[in-house]
């Protein structure tokens, strides 16, 4: 094999890597390896000076392969590939060694971590030797977009996209638009009417010439790849069903959340005590303009209990983010409907993190609401009051701050039910091929740096389907997803990864084992030649056919046997 000129760049990542890995030692080790001609370490390799250093070395030293030992390739592989490209080198001549997420951050012994970093770097050096130049493919980007979910987020994304010139198919399962926000009365902290906001959105959405609203509809299938998806949507009207096929380039998933089922918490008596309501049931009451008990009486005592289903070991460990401010809003709305009513707010911690929230909390506490704190897993207990009491129910709270057991009267109890992932989130995830976390929320491409993209190119998530969120955050995500899509649509074409499988016709025996294995039907059988071949545009490079081919006729580009063998040798040397 021809002589390589490999450059090895070991990143300190500030102290993230350097603290646990002796980067100089990794450099010294790399410098001894055959083919390695340039070795450097630097504070932040991904920074502009870091990249410029690599680019300059490629040009000056005539490097033909580059190894960057730094963070996960899931983080900065695109960055360094671009740097190679800028220097005039094929971007696939890069290999990264993950010595941060999979080394310095998970070990606490410097010698062992350094040894592992050396091994990973050597694996990358050996592997990169066999890297082949690959050309990315450019495919047309269909400007149409499928938006799943007709709530606030779905409509906001649809409008933004349609205003930008994209045709949008907005699919909603219900017979009307609006989603969960349409069930809310006023919104915290500014007390704007949710109805006004949602009505304006619905009107604009319905009237927009580029938005096709598909009510009573569900997405049956989604096939293809970024820029070129085909989707089948089924619409049911009464006992009639119709299916339509649409071509779309991108998809926004905005399926939202469902509320926690309060009857799962037995000690609050929801479903048994008639005047124990969920927050959504109370919203209905507020929207009807009446705050009253089941018996039609004006309540003298109202109690609000926080964190129902949220922040608990039994149900959901996460915070649902909107309930604290909503509870304060209820205290206000109750007081304005029944001015002499006593309101108790029974909370775990008051989360007032958003813009205007702290002020809203202060105003709430000044309005003579009784605040009582309970410990996370020490729930208040509700029981029916006796005939001598002047109230419907009594709530026993082990008050955390005073360390006293306090009994609170209540005619109406509002349970602040949290958000949870929808029952069908698993089916949706499979439909569009994205992942869910342990709580069922959809997983973003990167939680901080790429929060609306997913690991499947062309599929975006926005709003509470990814985690509990309030309206401003959800709207921001809807617009972000739309912006991402428009930015790519403007170009008209999209470069897709050059990684796919290839069949060597001379080696193929025509056994057709691979034909059946391919999940994307990307392998075609040429009857005349009696040989299989891969339709590269459909191939997603899983490599299942490669490992299964009995003749070894299939190559996975960028994941070839020789590349992986070389890496195995490297990490074990």
């Amino acid at each position: 094999m021809e002589e390589r000129k490999i450059g090895v760049y070991v990143c300190n990542c500030g102290s993230n890597i350097a603290k646990m890995v002796d980067c100089d030692e990794v450099c010294a080790y790399a410098a001894q390896q055959p083919g390695v001609t340039t070795v450097k370490s630097y504070k932040y390799m991904c920074s502009n000076p870091g990249q410029e250093m690599i680019i300059a070395d490629i040009k000056a030293d005539g490097l033909d392969r580059v190894v960057v030992a730094a963070c996960s390739p899931r983080m900065h592989e695109p960055t360094f590939r671009k740097a190679l490209q800028t220097a005039g080198l094929n971007p696939y001549f890069l290999e990264m060694a993950n010595i941060r997420e999979q080394c310095s951050w998970v070990h606490d012994e410097r010698n062992a971590a350094t040894e592992k970093a050396r091994a990973l770097t050597l694996g990358a050096i050996r592997r990169v030797t066999y890297h082949q130049p690959l050309e990315r493919r450019s495919v047309d980007m269909c400007p149409n977009v499928l938006v799943i979910g007709g709530g606030m987020v779905g409509m906001t994304a649809a409008l933004e996209l349609a205003d930008g010139g994209s045709r949008v198919y907005l699919v909603e399962r219900q017979n009307c638009l609006g989603g969960n926000v349409a069930r809310v009365d006023l919104t915290a902290p500014y007390l704007d009417s949710a109805r006004d906001m949602i009505t304006a959105l619905i009107t604009r959405t319905k009237e927009h010439p580029l938005i096709e609203v598909l009510l009573n509809s569900e997405v049956n299938s989604l096939e293809g790849f970024v820029g070129n998806f085909k989707t089948v949507v089924e619409t049911i009207w009464g006992d009639q069903a119709a299916t339509n096929q649409y071509e779309v380039g991108n998809v926004v998933v905005a399926t939202g959340y469902q509320e926690f089922d309060a009857s799962r918490v037995t000690h609050y008596g929801y479903g048994k005590l008639p005047n124990v309501l969920t927050s959504f049931e109370f919203e209905t009451m507020l929207r009807a303009g009446r705050v009253e008990t089941k018996e039609g009486k004006s309540p003298q005592y109202v109690a609000i209990i926080h964190c129902v289903g949220s922040r608990s070991k039994e149900f959901h460990t996460y915070c649902s983010r909107v309930c604290c401010m909503t509870a304060l809003k209820y205290a206000r709305e109750v007081k304005s409907a029944v001015p002499d009513c006593y309101v108790s707010d029974i909370y775990v911690d008051m989360h007032a993190f958003g813009k205007g929230h702290e002020d809203f909390y202060r105003r709430g506490s000044e309005a003579k609401t009784l605040f009582l704190m309970y410990a996370k897993n020490d729930h208040p207990v509700i029981r029916k009051a006796g005939p001598k009491d002047d109230c419907e129910m009594l709530i026993e709270v082990n008050e955390k701050l005073s360390r006293e057991v306090i009994e609170i009267p209540a005619d109406l109890v509002i349970l602040m039910v949290g958000m949870e992932s929808r029952k069908d989130s698993e089916a949706v995830a499979r439909l569009v091929n994205i992942s869910r976390d342990k709580d069922g929320w959809f997983i973003e491409s990167h939680p901080k740096l790429d929060p609306v993209a997913t690991t499947t190119d062309g599929i975006y998530i926005a709003g509470a389907c990814a985690a509990p969120k309030d309206i401003p955050d959800s709207v921001a995500q809807a617009r972000a997803a739309a912006g991402r899509i428009l930015a790519r649509t403007i170009r008209g074409t999209i470069d897709i990864d050059a990684v796919f499988a290839e069949i060597d016709e001379d080696k193929c025996s025509g056994c057709r084992v691979c034909n059946e294995l391919c999940p994307y039907s990307a392998i075609d059988f040429n009857v005349d030649k009696k040989r299989s071949n891969v339709i590269s545009a459909l191939c997603k490079a899983c490599g299942a056919c490669v490992a299964a081919c009995p003749s070894g006729a299939i190559t996975a580009r960028h994941f070839t046997d020789e590349q992986i063998f070389a890496q195995i040798e490297g990490v074990l040397a």
Binding site: W105, V106, A119
Partner: protein, 144 residues
């Protein structure tokens, strides 16, 4: 000093590799014995990769993919699952203990699970001692 095994981990890009990255971002400390090799899908893992790793000095091989039903490529993990018993049989014929090669599912959100898995695997392989392949190679070298 106790024997420290070398383990090669083949992880799928979408679930398990991301899960291993999450263990990192969550700063979950685990045994440094596993060297991870990324593949797009566990269905890409040719049995020869495992044999190659064992021949080149690995004391154990850990294969991780997405949970059944969650595969990025719909069903790659099922393909690996079906291939695995054959691989196990082959290894048994070579006299390699079952516990040295392990197939597990780790999702992108299971950083803790990945760390626990590495610790558990490391401990089990440590108890087994050096791979018989390595021992045989050492004897071979000595006889030459």
């Amino acid at each position: 000093m106790s024997f420290e095994p070398k383990i090669v981990g083949f992880l799928c890009n979408w679930c398990s590799y991301t899960g291993a990255d999450l263990a990192g971002t969550s700063r979950i400390d685990y045994a440094p014995n596993v060297r991870i090799i990324r593949v797009m899908c566990c269905a890409r893992i040719d049995p020869t990769f495992v044999l190659k790793a064992l021949r080149d000095g690995a004391d154990g091989v850990l294969i991780c993919g997405c949970h059944p039903g969650d595969c990025h490529y719909s069903e790659g993990n099922y393909k690996m699952m079906r291939r695995y018993p054959l691989l196990k049989k082959l290894l048994a014929d070579f006299g390699i203990q079952e516990a040295r090669v392990r197939l597990e599912w780790v999702s992108a959100s299971e950083g803790q699970r990945f760390a626990d898995l590495v610790n558990d695997m490391t401990q089990r392989v440590r108890e087994l001692g050096p791979s018989p392949v390595r021992m045989a190679q050492a004897t071979d070298m000595a006889e030459r």
